[in-house]
């Protein structure tokens, strides 16, 4: 092998990336020290955790009525807010797509979508609880805004990636703008839109169990009250029920996805 071939390197070292990685490791060690995370603190914490877990067993399902009522309310919040979010996201996504909408409209719509997504849904739920009072309505409103923002953003991005050749062919037939949408655009993005919607429904099932903690309806309120009263066996029952609900939802949405292939 000649000397010049040895000097050619197929994989030159990236010193910048190595230095960054080393810096991150050093900072993580420093941060651990700052936060006073020590072995003594850890062993104390794990001891407490053992006692806490022991009090959770066995789960207490005696207040099943309260439990089911809360779960059903959470389920309803999730379904209604997902449906409303999907409904609003469809036009918003179309208006935000830069390859279809005129730029002033798409910029304005993108701004609105970013606004919907800027605050965490729990903060939005607190705002709605303050504005329209305790209960499921505040939870539905908060999760609708979150779903709308999430689906509209991903939907707009999916539309921007479609093949314009197919759209061009439909335009060339003399189709109106509406007909171009339903023949040239939606067939290309429909399955992804349904995918985003199912994912958001999944997320909303989880999210709807949380908004109750701030008073926006659902099982979360019951869970928070049980924590405050140290009813850890009831807490365990609620948590197991939520996990079961999410598992069922996962199975159902996986089945729907298969059917839509």
């Amino acid at each position: 092998m000649s000397a010049s071939a040895l000097r050619r390197r197929a994989f030159p070292p990236n010193w910048g990336a190595r230095a960054t990685a080393l810096g991150l490791v050093i900072y993580a060690i420093y941060a651990l020290g700052q936060l006073d995370i020590t072995w003594a603190r850890l062993s104390l914490g794990f001891g407490e955790a053992g006692r806490f877990l022991a009090r959770m067993w066995p789960p207490n399902f005696s207040r099943a009525e309260l439990l089911i009522e809360g779960l059903l309310e959470s389920l309803q919040i999730a379904l209604i807010s997902s449906a409303l979010g999907i409904l609003f996201a469809l036009p918003l996504g179309l208006m935000a797509a830069r390859n279809l909408a005129p730029w002033p409209l798409s910029v304005a719509t993108r701004g609105f979508i970013a606004f919907c997504r800027s605050l965490h849904y729990v903060i939005v739920a607190i705002l709605f609880v303050k504005a329209i009072g305790f209960g499921a309505l505040a939870g539905v409103a908060a999760l609708t805004i979150a779903s709308m923002g999430f689906i509209a953003k991903l939907f707009a991005e999916a539309i921007e990636e479609i093949s314009m050749k197919q759209v061009e062919a439909i335009r060339a037939t003399g189709a109106s703008f509406g007909a171009v949408l339903i023949y040239g655009v939606l067939p290309q993005v429909a399955s992804r839109f349904i995918g985003f919607s199912l994912y958001q429904l999944d997320s909303n099932l989880r999210n709807s169990t949380l908004v109750g903690i701030v008073g926006a309806g659902g099982i979360g309120g019951t869970l928070f009250a049980a924590f405050k009263r140290f009813d850890y066996d009831f807490v365990a029952a609620i948590l197991l029920s939520i996990i079961a609900l999410i598992f069922i939802a996962e199975l159902v949405s996986a089945r729907i996805r298969v059917l839509l292939r």
Binding site: S163, K165, Q166, E168, A169, I170, R171, A172, T173, G174, A175, S176, G178, A179, I182, Y183, G184, P187, Q188, A190, S191
Partner: protein, 255 residues
């Protein structure tokens, strides 16, 4: 000559500049009779595709007139433009079928300029349209494929659907932009035979951009050679000499 009396396609002084000051088409003048097959040949990037797309206004002309059966297409907007487009069928190089729709939906999309939004959405096409779509599928040799999705077809089959879609418009003019460039040589000949046969029997003039000079000679009654955004040859296939090809494509080693 009176404008109203001129049949076929008449192009006058057509200029297209994508970048101001750099014309792709430099004042094209062309008259195409309301029947017959015209092949446009020329090197890549010489404006053949732009010329075709200016006719159905997928590309906006910078200057000039395009008259189809006496009516200027260039100033049309909105509804007027859609009414003009539905009279012009187009076949594309990469077929441009809507992949996730069925073959039948793709063929019927040729009627989108004629049916209402509601009819299109609900697939409530007039019986006559559906019957015509089935007979076109028979004519292009896909009698059993109506309910298959377009992305399940081979290239040659897709182009057959593309031809059926264009003819579904009952066009007064058929444009084909490199319809055989994505196909193998044998399928290319089959597609050219099908397209020229169907447009001739429907009495629709066909303008086809084509790379393959042999296919152009074989199927066209008139050949237009373009180079540098201008027409440098216009005549029957027999008149096309190696000298012309040198002028169109440059160089001579390949001849």
């Amino acid at each position: 000559m009176q404008t109203g009396a001129m049949q076929g396609l008449v192009i006058k002084g057509l200029v297209k500049e994508y970048v101001p000051g750099k014309p792709v088409l430099r004042g094209i003048n062309l008259a195409i009779a309301p029947q017959g097959i015209t092949a446009v040949i020329g090197p890549s990037g010489t404006g053949k595709s732009t010329l075709l797309r200016c006719i159905n206004r997928l590309v906006e002309p910078t200057a000039g007139e395009i008259l189809l059966n006496g009516h200027d297409l260039v100033p049309l907007r909105g509804r007027g433009l859609r009414m003009a487009r539905r009279r012009i069928g187009m076949v594309f190089q990469e077929y441009n079928l809507v992949e996730r729709l069925t073959v039948m939906e793709n063929v019927l999309s040729g009627r989108l300029g004629y049916v209402s939004f509601w009819q299109a959405w609900m697939r409530r096409y007039p019986e006559a349209d559906i019957a015509r779509a089935f007979s076109l599928l028979d004519a292009v040799g896909l009698p059993e494929q109506a309910t298959r999705r377009a992305d399940a077809l081979s290239g040659g089959q897709r182009q057959r659907v593309g031809i059926a879609r264009a003819l579904m418009q009952q066009p007064e003019l058929l444009l084909a932009d490199e319809p055989t460039s994505s196909l193998d040589p044998r399928t290319a000949v089959e597609i050219m035979e099908l397209m020229t046969g169907l447009s001739t029997s429907a009495n629709v003039p066909l303008v086809v951009n084509i790379h393959n000079v042999d296919l152009a000679r074989r199927f066209a009654q008139r050949i237009i050679g373009m180079a540098g955004g201008e027409i440098v040859f216009d005549g029957p296939p027999e008149a096309l000499q190696p000298g012309h090809l040198r002028q169109i494509y440059g160089g001579e080693d390949w001849l």
